[in-house]
């Protein structure tokens, strides 16, 4: 019974952290979007595509069993989008988008792989 209730709390906790994470991601997306409105070219990906790439990347990070990788991918994606939020060159945006898509594939594959070999949870990951 005790184990059950503590498990229950863990689930609620993780749900809260997910919501706060997606809230943060929305802010990042909005800044990125604002910068994009000035630069639109046929080669550039659409706003919707960029937002969805960002969301997919964040989502892909959650699959990892190891919290170190989970946090790294979340943080790295966030920082990369933040850093390039002011990018206006359509060619560069296109290149960054392609790069992000390749990274997403890697993150999805490796997240799955990582989750196949679970170890005990870390002392800071509970």
């Amino acid at each position: 019974m005790l184990a059950l209730s503590s498990n229950h709390r863990a689930i609620t906790m993780s749900f809260i952290s997910v919501t706060s994470k997606s809230l943060a991601s929305m802010t990042v997306c909005r800044t990125f979007l604002r910068s994009l409105t000035s630069a639109s070219s046929p080669a550039s990906p659409t706003k919707r595509q960029i937002i969805s790439l960002y969301r997919d990347l964040i989502r892909s990070s959650r699959v990892f069993a190891s919290h170190n990788y989970r946090d790294y991918i979340h943080r790295r994606a966030q920082d990369a989008f933040r850093k390039n939020a002011t990018e206006t060159d359509p060619k560069r945006i296109q290149a960054l988008y392609e790069r992000g898509k390749r990274d997403l594939e890697v993150a999805r594959r490796q997240g799955w792989l990582n989750a196949q070999f679970r170890a005990d949870k870390s002392v800071v990951d509970r």
């Binding site: 990892f64 190891s66 919290h67 170190n68 990788y69 946090d71 790294y72 991918i73 790295r76 920082d79 990274d103 890697v106 993150a107 594959r109 490796q110 997240g111 792989l113 990582n114 170890a119 005990d120 949870k121 870390s122 002392v123 800071v124 990951d125 509970r126």
Partner: protein
């Protein structure tokens, strides 16, 4: 022994615990060898620690640590990236195709399987070369930095032995360089082990004076594995080039973490390791300069791979992994450096603001922030390591972590025996998080306080007694 039996029924675990060294013996051992000759006083402290250690009825595993206790609380935080680093998922992703589909021998010239693998190996070679500003033809793949170091030290010395018979290295080098030098000494070479200053750096003047006309090689590591100090490689390279002496540097802990350029720094040989840069274990590289040409006598004889310097089939997946790790390191160097610097400051400030008598070993400025070596005065390092069971740490190099001897690197710095005994190395890497650092600060502060609380030495220090002035009774 009887203590353990008294704890309960002599179960299989209890009997097993009798075989290996139990925690209390380890503790007794290290306190006997440590701090001062104050056996009389320390016995009291030991007894108290022993009582604390045996109070819990947990079986003690062969490692000497209470493993089940660690397992129950969750996996420890990994803070030992100088020993080895976790692989980057991008590296694993680059390697997998060569472990599943492209399994050919890269030296097979007659079919597609060989060509695919060769292309992977050559791409990896290019990526390694790009990271250190070299030409791909100058990169030799080895099994790791130990082999690279052996190859350069022994190889250069033996090749030029008819004309030159002197080698210069430092006292704080990695064991594999020092041991290679010992072997050469037995072969009749003369070796100078340069001392280091208190901050861990060598004195350039001393180096210049040590170079003789018959000096074949100078071998000085870039970033020290225990204290993280960065030697002035560019200046050393300049001196060596001016004196026409080959310069080898063991850059296993430096490559991919600090900017390196073999041409700007006049490096003739550079050892690189895969698993220190989030790549696979079992692969390394050696940079061997082509102009002016450095010649080595190979250690491995065989099929003549790697320009005849290192025979043996090149392990394609590992080389691809090393290449990917280098490419990522190059791209992420600034990002990682800023982050590791911030985490390192967070750790150091967190600890030093809450506990006194903490000394950072090695030069604080000329050092890599990801390697923080702290000495906690009046605390025994091994006891602290055991108390910090929720954190994977080491008191120094992993190669010597089995022995309770104080680190020779810290001794070379002129650290007192007690300070050398109380050192702990914190390794911060790409995947370390803020939450982990905060957790570590919290636990270190707690346990250092607790251990000092039961130390009679600490009591005396609190009373204002200068420990150095005490004449301990001789036994």
């Amino acid at each position: 022994m009887s203590l353990l039996y008294r704890l309960g029924r002599p179960t299989v675990q209890a009997v097993n615990a009798l075989r290996p060294r139990c925690a209390s013996t380890v503790l007794r051992d290290c306190s006997r060898r440590s701090v001062v000759d104050s056996r009389k006083t320390l016995v009291t402290a030991t007894q108290r620690v022993q009582a604390a250690a045996t109070a819990q009825e947990t079986p003690i595993e062969a490692s000497g640590f209470e493993e089940s206790l660690v397992k129950r609380d969750g996996r420890p935080i990994y803070l030992d990236v100088q020993a080895t680093a976790p692989m980057d998922p991008r590296v694993i992703d680059a390697m997998l195709p060569y472990m599943t589909q492209f399994y050919g021998n890269p030296h097979s010239r007659t079919h597609q399987y060989g060509w695919e693998s060769e292309a992977g190996v050559e791409k990896g070679r290019q990526q390694v070369a790009d990271l250190i500003g070299a030409d791909p033809k100058e990169i030799i793949f080895t099994s790791g930095a130990t082999e690279s170091n052996n190859m350069s030290v022994k190889g250069v010395a033996r090749f030029y032995k008819s004309k030159k018979n002197h080698i210069i290295t430092t006292q704080t080098e990695h064991k594999c360089v020092l041991d290679s030098c010992r072997v050469l000494q037995e072969e009749g070479f003369d070796v100078t082990y340069l001392p280091v200053k208190e901050n861990g750096l060598i004195d350039l003047q001393t180096l210049e004076e040590a170079i003789r006309p018959e000096t074949a090689l100078v071998s000085i590591m870039t970033v020290n594995n225990e204290i993280g100090v960065i030697q002035p490689i560019a200046e050393i390279g300049k001196i060596c080039r001016a004196k026409k002496v080959f310069f080898h540097t063991d850059a296993a802990q430096a490559v991919g973490k600090i900017p390196l350029d073999v041409n700007a720094m006049n490096v003739d040989l550079m050892s690189i390791s895969g698993h220190k840069i989030y790549g696979p274990k079992g692969i390394g590289a050696l940079y061997v300069r082509r102009r002016p040409r450095v010649r080595l006598e190979p250690i491995m004889s065989g099929g003549g791979q790697e320009r005849g310097l290192r025979s043996g089939t090149v392990p394609t997946p590992l080389v691809v992994g090393l290449g990917a790790a280098c490419a990522i390191a190059k791209e992420e160097m600034n990002y990682d450096a800023a982050r590791i610097r911030a985490l390192s400051d967070r750790l150091i400030n967190g600890i030093t603001s809450q506990i006194e008598h903490v000394v950072r070993n090695g030069d604080p400025d000329a050092s890599y922030p990801g390697c923080v070596n702290l000495s906690f005065a009046y605390v025994e390092g091994e006891s602290l390591l055991m108390a910090l069971k929720e954190i994977a740490l080491s008191s120094g190099s992993a190669c010597t972590s089995a022995s309770l001897e104080p680190s020779y690197v810290l001794r070379a710095l002129g650290a007192d025996d007690d300070m050398a005994h109380s050192s702990i190395r914190f390794g911060i890497g790409r995947f370390t998080t803020e939450a982990e650092v905060d957790f570590v600060v919290d636990r270190v502060v707690k346990h250092v306080g607790r251990l000092r609380e039961m130390s009679p030495l600490w009591e005396m220090v609190q009373e204002g007694i200068d420990l150095k002035s005490i004449q301990w009774a001789q036994h």
